[in-house]
């Protein structure tokens, strides 16, 4: 139980507060409309459907106000920055912004459904009252019109052949309601995980229907967040027009035939320079290349360290946009500048916190190693400068990969670090383990033949490659044994399944007792 508090305490608290506000709003407005004397006659016409329509409307207003905020990345970075003085637990909550956004979206969908059903009943009963279907009081109330000393009660004014459908489409409230609900439904269907993962553009462009959705809402509630979000997009536009230069372009079209276990995988490294650009470790940027697409911005984690005078990204072939980019770069003559690039960012994520923990466990799966490339490079620089702000005294690095080929560009970095550490006699600082999860018989044969060699046959590093998946229990045991009474930060950039496993292990091996080891779990979001 104590372990759960360590890892889930603050987010659970936030959810409880949010649900509490929702429930309060719902009940408050329900009672307001159900008991209030000024609605007595309306209730005669509509019954409790009035309250059932108004209460979700209040909850909707509240949630629509909230929903834009978790996706204002610059705002979140700002909050993160200002929370530097506060505990790292608070800052970690900024990582769960997308989870919160989805939660609020579900609530909006639910409230919209209730609101819609209640209004269907309302319009039907208003219409019937107007047509004189019900008792005399209803008909009389409906007859009240906008005159000197009366105002109308029933919004349906004409008595000529009227059906609810006609009223809905001829009144502003009805028409806007239908249009924005339609926008909401389209947004929801295109946000399903299947669509998002496979065709992000459909999701992204359709999601901009939120503008229509917000246009139909009570403006007072949503004006603030809309302005903030508009500022975010404006900031992106400003950054887009700022000049970005290329420092060096290197394309590794890896079709290496020296070793039978290698498989080709295209990785492009871009090194860019931009005036006034300042980054921290593990941050990401959005890139836009007008030559490929005017409107698309794609996120990439930076692989350079803040101490360098440029910033770099490693781009892997993973879809239309990246394929086209690699194609353009390959066709470039030697030493030429690449196509114009817009750069938005940097935006901060969990990796910024890695130096705050005394001990860090970094797990990168496949291409997920990129944020850690930045971290390891930064370590190397800080080591050289003997930076006193470095709180970390031990790092465990685990790289899981199916194909050995992705090792190439990263192996150089690890080799440098190895040499550096050897020179300073500081073997203890960084322990890294590489796991080749997609091995087969030819791998095993190859390794057997080169067993006696000093360096690893696959990476050329002194540290030997492990085969198969790591046994996390063993790893956690070892870390716990080596670091009693420490706070250990676990950082993962990889698939959700692995995140679940590691999160559970963190919970299992943590102890609330300050004399024992505590594991905190942080997950990257891609």
């Amino acid at each position: 139980m104590g372990n759960k508090i360590v890892n889930y305490g603050v987010p659970s608290f936030i959810i409880v507060v949010w649900m509490g506000i929702n429930i309060f709003l719902f009940v408050w407005y329900y009672l307001f409309y159900d008991r209030g004397d000024n609605f007595f006659y309306t209730r005669h016409l509509l019954g409790s459907a009035l309250a059932w329509a108004r209460a979700p409307a209040a909850v909707l207003n509240f949630n629509c106000m909230l929903i834009l905020l978790p996706v204002c990345r610059n705002l979140l970075s700002l909050i993160r920055g200002s929370l530097m003085c506060c505990s790292r637990t608070m800052r970690r909550q900024m990582d769960r912004n997308l989870t919160f956004h989805k939660l609020v979206a579900y609530m909006i969908a639910l409230m919209t459904a209730i609101h819609m059903v209640a209004h269907l009943l309302n319009v039907e009963w208003y219409n019937n009252s107007r047509q004189g279907v019900y008792d005399e009081l209803s008909t009389t109330l409906s007859d009240l019109a906008d005159m000197e000393n009366t105002t109308y009660l029933n919004p349906i004014r004409t008595t000529n052949l009227q059906i609810p459908l006609y009223f809905a489409f001829t009144s502003i409230a009805g028409l806007t309601g239908i249009i924005i609900t339609l926008a909401l439904i389209l947004m929801i269907t295109s946000s399903m995980e299947v669509i998002r993962r496979s065709y992000f553009e459909v999701f992204w462009y359709t999601h901009h229907l939120f503008v229509i959705f917000f246009a139909g809402l009570t403006w007072m509630w949503v004006l603030g967040p809309m302005i903030i979000y508009a500022a975010e997009r404006l900031l992106r536009l400003i950054r887009y027009v700022q000049n970005v230069q290329y420092r060096k372009v290197k394309c590794d079209n890896l079709v290496n035939l020296r070793c039978i276990v290698m498989r080709p995988s295209k990785v492009l490294e871009l090194q860019l320079v931009k005036k006034g650009f300042k980054m921290e470790v593990g941050q990401y940027i959005f890139l836009n290349c007008p030559a490929i697409s005017q409107l698309e911005w794609h996120p990439f984690t930076m692989t350079s360290a803040p101490e360098e005078d440029f910033f770099s990204v490693h781009i892997r072939s993973a879809g239309d946009w990246t394929d086209k980019l690699i194609e353009i770069m390959q066709k470039l003559p030697e030493g030429a500048q690449g196509p114009k690039m817009g750069v938005d960012g940097p935006f901060g994520t969990a990796s910024e916190d890695v130096f705050d923990y005394e001990v860090s466990m970094l797990v990168g799966a496949g291409i997920g190693v990129t944020p850690f490339a930045s971290i390891l490079k930064s370590i190397w620089y800080r080591f050289k400068d003997n930076d006193p702000k470095l709180r970390t005294r031990k790092i465990y690095f685990y790289w899981l990969c199916r194909e050995t080929h992705a090792f190439e560009w990263f192996a150089d970095l690890l080799q440098l670090l190895e040499k550096e550490m050897e020179q300073r006699g500081l073997w203890d600082f960084l322990t890294y383990k590489l796991f080749l999860t997609g091995w087969d018989q030819s791998h095993a044969d190859h390794v057997m033949v080169h067993f006696d060699e000093d360096t690893d046959v696959v990476t050329g590093l002194k540290q030997k490659t492990h085969y198969g998946r790591p046994s996390w229990d063993k790893e956690f045991e070892q870390v716990r044994r080596d670091n009693p009474a420490s706070v250990v930060g676990m950082f993962l950039c990889g698939p959700a399944a692995l995140a679940n496993v590691l999160e559970k292990k963190c919970g299992k091996y943590s102890d609330v007792d300050p004399r024992r080891t505590k594991f905190y779990f942080n997950k990257e979001n891609f």
Partner: protein
């Protein structure tokens, strides 16, 4: 956006429309609304659309993710052959189904959503997509080669005992040239 299979989004949209039609229809019937006959129709139409759209199609490229328990639906839908395989048929079917929903407020939203789904299916059909059932794969194991059953009877040839002793003391003299290359160039 070249690699999009529009049918995937059309499928999500159509399933959602089916549910909305169903919900609107239930409200219309339960509340005994004016024009409740349309609502009753919407209930039936909503159920039909949901059943038709529940099984996901197999993707032309990439891994397909099934909806839970969709296998029996897949079998039923597959049984209709070209009627369910072809997206033109689906597009026109949905367009036809959605029309009666447009006559009543409770079902009009379902009608419009289904209409949009029909348009997306039309786009998918024009691009040449079609519905493929996701069926469990039967793994074919590679047959074991015959040679594994007949291990060699004799040990590999070794040089005579004198040469072997010499190898231990004199590595240079023991070296010999291989007739064929042993590296993997």
């Amino acid at each position: 956006m070249g690699k999009i299979e529009w049918a995937m989004w059309a499928n999500e949209q159509a399933l959602a429309s089916g549910l909305i039609l169903l919900a609107g229809g239930i409200v219309g019937v339960a509340g005994q609304f004016r024009g409740w006959e349309f609502a009753a129709y919407a209930v039936a139409a909503g159920v039909f659309v949901c059943l038709l759209e529940y099984p996901r199609s197999k993707r032309a490229k990439g891994t397909s993710v099934e909806r839970s328990g969709q296998y029996c639906f897949t079998v039923c839908v597959k049984a209709f052959g070209p009627l369910t395989r072809n997206y033109y048929v689906r597009a026109f079917l949905h367009a036809a189904i959605c029309v009666p929903g447009g006559f009543m407020l409770a079902t009009v939203l379902g009608c419009v959503c289904l209409g949009i789904a029909s348009l997306i299916y039309l786009a998918a059909a024009i691009r040449g997509e079609h519905w493929e059932p996701i069926l469990p794969r039967k793994d074919v194991r590679k047959p074991v080669a015959e040679s594994i059953k007949n291990p060699p009877q004799n040990p590999p040839p070794r040089p005579p005992p004198e040469t072997r002793r010499k190898q231990a003391k004199d590595l240079e003299g023991a070296a010999y040239d291989n007739p064929s290359s042993v590296t993997d160039d």
